[in-house]
């Protein structure tokens, strides 16, 4: 592979050229064309423009801009949206291809609900800790906010993420459709260990049963060690209260565990000597494997990565340098390395990991690639700090079985056609 000219002086040129040519920009313009924005005649009327009727002047230097406002809004050229599927028992997929860095804007953070988004009055919210504890505890939100807090960056991923791409792959799938049940936020809350100490967990308590205050009263049994380790009760997400679809006012957050265990709208924690065997830890969220068995309490999210650009529906416009960018993460800690292949897995090159590498949070990776105008298959393969490596799809099928139901952690691929079109490539 040719080395990119990525010294600081020239990188700016590459980036700008890539940006100008990027399909993201083309998609943005297309979205704009489909919206009722209009070009404003120059003049004082521009000053009156508000968020209800955004106008785009032909020359922003020739007229005053928008007036100050109470709430910021996205540029009319930028319109990322989640992709909802299902209604009450459903999910909305985050637009991974539209995001930069590692944090997911809160309104684009994926959601998975088991009977709708509960709307909870914070004045009425209470948390009860009971069962095998010395001092059963009932606290309200004002009281929860008085405990010492921590702020941490963690991903949440649904263990069903990637199911559609595994079972019914189509070339016309975006990163959002392939792996959009992954999002990351900076969370603020109270270590669950603090509240467990307040309540006094009795010896012999091996599990805690966490239950939400939603219409599904979603319930999962969690090993008590996780509660004493890094579990949090969070109310803050990216600098503001949780969004309702992420559990406002308070959700459990279990770093590295499958998303459904981070119970939203949490209201009850029961310490117990055994798991509850609720529907969502028996009938659902269990993993059939070869040998006529199913894994149960398969909490940890496997190491994974996905290229977010170039991907469908992007179009490479010309030969030359293009950045291959993506996300890599693991439920077992930090990412140790990410490798990229541009020849369908015949050879691999290490990708540059950008910025902070936090445990249980995604990293951005990037690899500059000189496209020669020929068809190519782009892959990414992540390794975490335990040495776990993403398997190929074939190995995944062999080890887990084609009928397995969760934790689809195999290598994802993207095919670049000779005309520059990019498609999802399942069979890699």
């Amino acid at each position: 592979m040719t080395r990119p000219p990525d010294d600081a002086a020239r990188e700016g040129d590459i980036s700008r050229r890539a940006l100008l040519a990027s399909a993201a920009g083309i998609a943005g313009a297309a979205a704009l064309a489909a919206k009722p924005y209009r070009l404003l005649a120059q003049g004082p009327a521009a000053v009156a423009a508000d968020t209800a009727a955004v106008v785009v002047p032909p020359d922003p230097t020739a007229v005053p801009g928008l007036v100050t406002s109470a709430r910021g809004m996205r540029s009319p050229f930028v319109d990322p949206t989640r992709a909802p599927a299902g209604v009450l028992s459903g999910a909305s997929f985050a637009p991974l291809q539209d995001l930069s860095g590692t944090i997911t804007p809160s309104d684009l953070f994926f959601e998975r609900n088991h009977n709708g988004v509960a709307l909870v009055d914070p004045q009425k919210w209470k948390l009860m800790i009971h069962g095998m504890v010395e001092r059963p505890l009932m606290i309200d939100l004002a009281q929860l906010l008085r405990y010492p807090t921590v702020t941490r960056t963690y991903f949440i991923e649904c263990s069903g993420n990637g199911r559609a791409a595994f079972r019914a792959p189509k070339p016309e799938m975006t990163p959002q459709q392939v792996d959009g049940l992954l999002s990351t936020a900076e969370w603020t809350g109270v270590p669950l260990a603090t509240l467990f100490r307040e309540a006094g967990v009795k010896p012999g308590a091996k599990w805690f049963i966490a239950e939400g205050g939603d219409a599904a009263r979603l319930s999962r049994s969690i090993p008590v060690e996780k509660g004493l380790d890094d579990a949090l009760l969070v109310w803050g997400q990216n600098g503001e209260p949780l969004r309702p679809s992420n559990g406002y006012p308070v959700r459990l957050l279990l770093p590295g565990f499958e998303g459904n265990t981070s119970i939203k709208w949490v209201r009850r924690l029961e310490l117990s000597d055994q798991p509850n065997m609720s529907k969502d830890e028996t009938s659902k969220y269990t993993d059939p494997i070869p040998g006529a068995k199913a894994r149960q309490f398969s909490f940890l999210m496997d190491v994974k990565s996905v290229i977010t650009s170039p991907t469908y529906p992007q179009q490479l416009t010309d030969k030359g340098w293009w950045p291959i960018r993506g996300l890599a993460w693991s439920g077992r800690g930090r990412i140790a390395k990410v490798e990229v292949s541009t020849d369908g897995g015949k050879s691999w090159q290490p990708a540059r990991i950008e910025g902070n590498n936090l445990p249980l949070a995604p990293v951005r990776f990037e690899q500059m690639w000189q496209w020669d105008g020929k068809a190519a298959v782009l892959l990414s393969r992540a390794t975490d700090e335990t040495g776990a490596v993403q398997p190929t799809r074939a190995e995944f099928k062999r080890v887990r079985g084609v009928g397995t139901d969760y934790h689809f952690s195999y290598i994802r691929g993207w095919r670049v056609e000779s005309d520059g079109a990019v498609k999802f490539e399942a069979e890699v």
Binding site: T282, S283, A294
Partner: protein, 197 residues
């Protein structure tokens, strides 16, 4: 001279810290009641009973009452069939199939199209009571009375061939029901490191 000043500073700082009240955050003893933050209160027995409805495989929290398969068929027709079908066939993927014995060999890893039903997949009968009481019907969760839940649980277990058509489900009988797939579930053995599992 400078050395003396430093010693003095250290002593003063230590004294200051010693006098400061330590927050309960610094506790290490997890079972100690000493030095809690003192926030909140104990829930009342009524508050615990109102929220703690979890029914585990021991039958904990199963209420008085009972239900028959015949009564359950009526409850099912009135409360469940609109979504899950008149015979529990469901309308996948939104409304799961509930009834089905096959495959009996738990060969789900071979084909994702094989539907997981109560009869071929659920490991515990108590989960039916727990889940129906918790979350069903979808549009009116928590609305069924214990007799209705026992009855519809009996109907679904009988329809899956797990219990006899004349069986009665109550707090004593339900935990004794052994599900066909009971022994199929294993502890997660993924451990990280090299070697994909």
């Amino acid at each position: 001279m400078r050395r003396v000043v430093w010693v003095g500073l250290v002593v003063a700082t230590t004294a200051c810290n010693g006098a400061r009240v330590q927050s309960p955050e610094s506790r290490v003893e997890s079972h100690s009641a000493v030095g809690t933050f003192g926030l909140g209160r104990a829930p009342t027995a009524e508050e615990i009973a109102a929220w703690d409805k979890s029914v585990n495989p021991t039958g904990k929290n199963l209420p008085p009452g009972q239900g028959t398969v015949a009564d359950g068929k009526l409850v099912y027709a009135a409360k469940c069939a609109a979504c899950h079908g008149d015979a529990g066939q469901g309308a996948p993927p939104v409304y799961p199939q509930l009834v089905g014995k096959d495959p009996t060999d738990f060969s789900f890893d071979n084909d994702f199209k094989i539907t997981h039903t109560i009869g071929n997949y659920w490991p515990y009968a108590t989960t039916l009571y727990d889940y129906i009481n918790r979350a069903m019907p979808l549009t009116a969760p928590g609305s069924l009375k214990p007799e209705e839940i026992y009855a519809v649980t009996a109907y679904l277990l009988a329809a899956n061939g797990v219990i006899a058509a004349d069986a009665v489900m109550d707090a004593r009988s339900l935990p004794k029901v052994t599900m066909p797939a009971r022994e199929r579930f294993v502890v997660d053995d993924r451990v990280g490191g090299a070697g994909f599992r």
